[in-house]
């Protein structure tokens, strides 16, 4: 009764088409603006453009070079020039990218790992008080947006208690040994990471618990238990690996929602990643920068989803006939 469509080709083509749509949107939106984009954007700023630069920019934003030329520029990292920072957009982007990868990467790894373990254990203890309490608490936590939890953590742990720094990713202008520097990085990472963890963990927990409950009802689990295997072995070697699959499949659907939260969290803690870069770009109305950050990060999101898609069709051949 599920949604049936041909193997992954559907989803894979979907991602590729979505990437094209995003590139085309970013190519065509500036052309839809009334008036001359380049004059409108740069005349009010302090950037003095040589006539050659101006011609190049105009060609870049008005589509004179055509969609193919735009694609070429995109691939060769020529994403325009930020008029607020007066440097090429690619420089700013590549400076911010590692911080976002660090924050998002840690948040996903931790929340998937712990959420999965907790979900598996909860399903195993189905019906007991601890399981019910866990599900209740996680459902409540799922309703707390990153803005709420982030602001509260900032108020309590950075301002009132002063345990963690309130912003940034490292203490600047300080000559430190490697170990002190690492501790400094971790201290700065703690609050934004906790916020994201609190946002991602409930989803992973509830999802893996739900699929684990379904799996535990199946016959092969009965067989495994009847063979006299240890409970831990039945839980993880037999059941849990099957519960991993829906978690990966749902990841793509939840990812779009998650990056919205990550933007907000970086802004709250002024963590110098892509979210804060985008926030600054928005507040200075730096359209070239907004356009490039949005386009490149959505392409990265699509690439991650595509890789996941390929990875789990390889992990589980049965999936070729389902969602």
């Amino acid at each position: 009764m599920g949604i049936r469509f041909k193997p992954h080709s559907g989803a894979v083509l979907g991602y590729l088409a979505a990437a094209l749509v995003m590139v085309y949107l970013s190519y065509s939106l500036p052309m839809l603006l009334p008036g001359d984009f380049v004059t409108a954007m740069y005349s009010g700023s302090d950037v003095a453009l040589s006539s050659e630069q101006e011609a190049k920019l105009r060609a870049f934003y008005t589509g004179e070079e055509g969609f193919g030329g735009y694609l070429l520029d995109l691939i060769s990292l020529q994403w325009g020039i930020s008029f607020a920072y007066r440097v090429p957009v690619s420089t700013l982007f590549l400076e911010a990218l590692p911080w976002t990868l660090l924050l998002m990467g840690c948040a996903h790894v931790f929340s998937v790992f712990f959420g999965f373990i907790a979900g598996v254990e909860a399903a195993w203890r189905r019906g007991r008080f601890s399981e019910k309490a866990g599900v209740g608490a996680m459902t409540v936590l799922q309703g707390v947006p990153e803005i709420g939890s982030g602001v509260l953590l900032l108020l309590v742990f950075a301002l009132n208690l002063g345990w963690f720094p309130a912003g940034g990713a490292e203490t600047v202008y300080s000559e430190q040994t490697a170990s002190v520097k690492t501790l400094d990085l971790l201290l700065h990472l703690a609050l934004p990471l906790t916020t994201l963890f609190l946002a991602y963990f409930p989803g992973n927990f509830l999802l893996s618990r739900a699929s684990m409950v379904m799996i535990l009802k199946q016959r092969f689990i009965q067989t495994a238990r009847a063979k006299g295997l240890k409970a831990v072995r039945v839980r993880y070697a037999h059941a849990a690996r099957n519960a991993l699959i829906p978690m990966v499949t749902r990841f793509g659907l939840r990812f779009a929602f998650m990056i919205t939260g990550a933007l907000v969290v970086e802004t709250i803690f002024s963590y110098p990643g892509l979210g804060t870069l985008l926030f600054n770009a928005i507040s200075m109305r730096d359209l070239p920068l907004i356009q490039a950050v949005v386009l490149i990060s959505s392409l990265m999101v699509l690439a991650v989803n595509l890789m996941l898609e390929v990875a789990y069709s390889w992990l589980d051949p049965r999936l070729s006939d389902g969602f």
């Binding site: 803005i147 108020l155 919205t260 907000v264």
Partner: protein, 279 residues
Amino acid sequence: MDFETLRKLSRDPWFGAGMAILSVVAALILLGPVLSPYDPYDMGFRPLSPPSSGHWLGINDGGMDILSELFMGLKNTVFFGLIAASAGLTLGALVGLSSAVAGGALDRFLMRMADIFLAVPPVMVLILVAAFFRPSPRVLALALAFLGWARSAKVIRAQARVVNGALHVKAARRMGGGRVYVIARHLMPEIFPLYVIGFAAQLRVAVFMEASLSFLGLFDPSRKSLGIMIHYALRYYYMDVWIHWLLPPVVCLTLLIMASTFLAVSLEKVFDPRLKETV
């Protein structure tokens, strides 16, 4: 919706909690003008003054009464969510139903489109559109609906196909019921639970998006919204303003999202539990 499901719903604590929070929010929106008699755009008060008997939550940096701002912001945020969720659901139901009934090439085309829309991260497109064109919030809500129909369309299509193949619908068709009759009399009412579930889920996404986008500064800065209030209050977080300025919009927003989460969870659980497996 029959009596049995209603009874189950009313017994579910999550449903009760969600409805309770939502009715408080509705009461606040309706009673707002009475409880706080100031115009939220009136800048005639002393900026940054603490709470007093005249201004329960004090005055913000622009000299505006925070409580009046809060009511107005709550209303705007909720309305944005309602517009986006109802438009998105209507679009999703239209596409899902026509896809299920038509079948063939149209079905394949619509579902391919849905795949593309599922893959595009909506927040990114909204940021682009908002930054370039500065549309009104209503247009942005519709844009969000336009980007978010795919999921409910897929769920509705799957369930409508099941109903479409059921015996009683086949019988209705044999007796001479046309396409329109089958859709209106059988498909649309019989997948009713999906509308409610879809609406609660889309409401949650829309409120979350509105708060995030306005927090990031993508709306008209003079507009009242929970996200914009948090945005401004956070600039003064080092001052002693957080209890009466920063916390109220944060709590309101959290309660809103929590209520829609509770409703979505409870509806999904009470209406046909098999629905969970279809997506």
